[in-house]
């Protein structure tokens, strides 16, 4: 197990290094950030002065080395746009995104686990077909469309929920449903196929043979085994979830790190983008590591291998 974790950690470092390199390179390809920082009618000297000030006139490898050697200490420099440390800016905006993705995850599970299980147990029945239809519809509906539809129905027409904003529990309902709905279909399909597969296993026959009630067979024996691929996929989907958060946050004016990242890319605010990308990558890799550990915990066979 310890070797397993160590290997994962080494991979983590390689991944984060790769991502930092990519983030650095892509931004420099995009164009000149100074242009967006100064008024359009600023003179040539002004441009040069600013470029020098930001260190943009130095060779690329020097800029990158400076970035990396500081970044390991949590110093990503100051945001060129907001004049405050990038690390603080990103950290401040992290919690709303984490709450949103967790809430989305909960919504996805609440939808997917029961529906997937029922669909598996009533295979080829109308319930199963209905679940398939819901899954396909859910997967097909773009997040921004769903979000705006929710707003139109619940805020504009029924006036039950605030259309956007952050801070109260009402604000959580629509965004987390929106995000969860995007993740639910794939999870549901996985639960369904997992349960179907497990239900055909020998140990289920054994459980039934020893006279356990069907409910107990499903919950105690089938479900736990069907969970393993689901958890793995949820881990992998975490990155997707963050991607969905960009759209959800934008639609619902959610002050999270996903919109901050997109905005900073637009503003070519290198320090913030680099900081956000590295921290988000760490988060995703961390979640995947956690998933591997959880799966290992549930299934001793994986630990041994």
């Amino acid at each position: 197990m310890r070797r397993y974790i160590a290997r994962q950690l080494v991979q983590l470092i390689v991944v984060v290094f790769g991502i930092s390199l990519l983030a650095f390179a892509i931004l420099h390809v995009l164009g000149d950030p100074v242009l967006l920082l100064l008024p359009q009618n600023a003179g040539k000297e002004e441009f040069e002065r600013y470029r020098h000030l930001l260190g943009l006139d130095r060779p690329m490898y020097v800029q990158y080395w400076k970035f990396v050697s500081r970044a390991v200490l949590g110093d990503f420099g100051k945001s060129w746009y907001a004049d405050t440390p990038a690390f603080r800016l990103v950290l401040e905006r992290m919690p709303p995104t984490i709450y949103l993705t967790l809430a989305g995850l909960v919504v996805a599970m609440v939808i997917a686990l029961p529906l997937g299980t029922i669909a598996a147990l009533r295979r080829h029945s109308w319930v199963d077909s209905l679940c398939t239809v819901v899954a396909v519809a859910g997967q097909a509906a773009p997040i921004f469309w769903l979000g705006i539809m929710l707003i139109i129905v619940f805020s504009v027409r029924l006036r039950l929920l605030p259309a956007s904003g952050y801070g109260t529990w009402q604000n959580f309902l629509m965004p987390s449903f929106c995000l969860g709905a995007a993740l639910a279909p794939i999870t549901m399909r996985l639960v369904r196929s997992g349960v179907i597969e497990v239900m055909n296993m020998e140990f289920i026959k054994t459980a039934r043979a020893k006279g356990l009630a069907e409910g107990r067979v499903v919950v105690k024996h089938a479900f736990r085994n069907a969970c393993i691929p689901v958890i793995t996929v949820l881990g992998l989907q975490f990155g997707q979830l963050l991607g969905g958060a960009i759209i959800t946050e934008t639609v619902f004016a959610w002050p999270g790190v996903a919109t901050l990242t997109v905005e900073s890319i637009r503003n070519q605010d290198f320090p913030v983008v680099q900081c956000a990308v590295v921290l988000l990558a760490l988060l995703i890799v961390g979640v995947n590591l956690l998933v591997d550990l959880v799966v290992g915990f549930i299934d001793p066979r994986i630990r041994a291998a």
Partner: protein, 512 residues
């Protein structure tokens, strides 16, 4: 499974505990809510180039002069009067009895400190360029200051509306860092709280020297998505939004909860034609081809049918609200036969193919649709365009600045809120400016003459000549000046401001 339930409930509990509660209890009746698409980077207006900063700045700070929204003229604010003693000296008298939000009195020392701060290159403030013509500020007495300018500076009074007055005491005692998030102004509202990218809460300054604002609180909510802004407006979460797209006006007006209000704004749209050959030799270096392009397009019907009337036809690049605008100059009228003839004369009897750099509706609503219409009109005359689309504003402006744009490209100019022909002539139409692809010595001479005298009558004459010149020379493909659309809740009374600065202190409850 049990574990799953515990995890889920822990998450929910965590979410409910950690989500911050709204701290200031404001009643909705006492509050006006303003929606913005993006947040400011700081609360230090001279250290920002964003329009949002200008708008928020106006609500918390004052300027020496301010524009009267009814007449459009610049009038007194913290300055009560000004006069030029000679060509390069201005004397400004200041209002007495004005207090900053921290209680300290406003005086000539603050004016000097504010200008010195922005003019000092070491402070790296982005607004420096706007005021660089000012050489020095001298204190005459507590309420009189004298400005020395570098040569005659006709935009002096205009530009007094462009710098907020900050406190000398704050600069000295608190410093630059602190000022980024803590605005101490003399304006109608004080900042209570700023949750970045989320909202600002302002409270009425009860000691304000001017008329008392009707609403005690202002909430400024940051809502990036336009559809959400409109939903909030209709469902009562927001009272005022700006930059409503033309195709959404009906949604708002038919809701019964809100309405739209329209104002001409200080921004002109055009298609620049590379007369100077900055991106290499091209057909538009020939006046006949530029003229043909102007005659090929039926701008009036595009404004009417594509833009829903949200534009005002102009003869050149000069906005009707800008000083120097010549209302006597008539815009081109579509004349396809003449356009074809001009092309043939120029050596293109079978028409010509040319590349056209196009962007998105960053600052110009409906630009994709209107450019489509222009392209189809041009084709009728034989000017066949090949579009190059650029999706982001940064790279687009880069191409133009670096001389890598196509022989024709979309452009709009907001004058940096300076209501003067000079503000577009110099930046967008003189030789060798980063965003100009027109170069004409005779025109440059007029522009320089115009900025070298304080005599308003003389300047008007010069600018009339200049407009005639660039019109006859068909320097660019002239389009229209823009109109902005605001969405206003039926709770409140508010008119769209022509300088695009939303002043929350003039919003009043709507009489039923």
């Amino acid at each position: 499974m049990k574990r799953g339930i515990t995890l889920a409930s822990m998450v929910l509990l965590g979410v409910s505990l950690l989500a911050p509660a709204d701290l200031v209890a404001q009643s909705r009746d006492e509050t006006v809510i303003y929606g913005l698409q993006s947040d400011v980077q700081n609360w230090d207006p001279p250290n920002s180039v964003l329009r949002e900063s200008i708008i928020l700045g106006y609500n918390v700070f004052d300027h020496l002069a301010a524009r009267d929204l009814k007449t459009g003229k610049v009038g007194p604010s913290l300055a009560v009067s000004w006069k030029n003693l000679d060509d390069t000296t201005w004397e400004v008298k200041l209002r007495q009895g004005v207090k900053f939000h921290d209680g300290s009195p406003f005086s000539a020392r603050d004016v000097k400190a504010s200008f010195d701060r922005v003019l000092n290159p070491e402070n790296k403030l982005t607004a420096r360029g706007n005021h660089a013509k000012i050489k020095s500020v001298e204190i005459v007495d507590d309420h009189t200051v004298r400005f020395k300018t570098d040569g005659p500076y006709p935009l002096f009074v205009e530009r007094l509306t462009a710098l907020v007055m900050q406190s000398e005491k704050v600069m000295k005692e608190k410093g630059h860092e602190w000022m980024q998030e803590n605005p101490i102004g003399t304006g109608p509202y004080k900042l209570v709280r700023w949750n970045k990218k989320q909202e600002h809460v302002l409270i009425r300054n009860e000691d304000y020297w001017g008329p008392k604002p009707a609403y005690k609180y202002v909430r400024i909510r940051i809502i990036p998505e336009q559809a959400t802004q409109i939903a909030e407006l209709i469902s009562g979460g927001v009272d005022i939004i700006k930059a409503v797209p033309p195709d959404q006006m009906d949604v708002i007006n038919k809701s019964g909860q809100a309405r739209t209000t329209i104002s001409p704004i200080l921004r002109t749209a055009m298609i620049q034609l590379d007369q100077a050959g900055r991106a290499g030799a091209n057909p538009f270096q020939d006046r006949r081809v530029r003229l043909a392009a102007n005659l090929a397009v039926d701008i009036d019907s595009i404004i009417k049918h594509v833009l829903n009337g949200l534009g005002d036809r102009v003869a050149t690049t000069v906005n009707p609200m800008a000083f120097g605008f010549d209302p006597g100059l008539k815009p081109f009228k579509q004349d396809l036969a003449q356009a074809k003839k001009l092309l043939a004369d120029a050596g293109y009897p079978n028409g010509l193919d040319v590349a056209f750099l196009r962007g998105q509706a960053w600052a110009e609503p409906g630009v994709v649709q209107t450019s489509d219409a222009i392209v189809s009109d041009l084709a009728k005359a034989g000017i066949r365009t090949k579009a190059r689309m650029v999706g982001e504003v940064g790279p687009f402006t880069n191409l133009v600045r670096d001389g890598k744009a196509d022989p024709m490209f979309e452009w709009t100019w907001g004058y940096y809120s300076i209501f003067d022909a000079d503000a577009i002539f110099f930046d967008v139409m003189t030789c060798n400016q980063p965003y100009s692809v027109y170069c004409n010595k005779a025109f440059d001479d007029l522009v320089i003459q115009g900025r070298s005298t304080l005599d308003a009558k003389r300047r008007t004459e010069i600018y009339a000549k200049a407009q005639k010149l660039i019109h006859d020379d068909a320097a660019y493909l002239y389009k229209w000046s823009l109109r902005g659309v605001w969405g206003v809740s039926n709770r409140v009374e508010y008119e769209a401001p022509r300088d695009e600065v939303d002043r929350m202190w003039i919003v009043t409850p709507r009489k039923k």
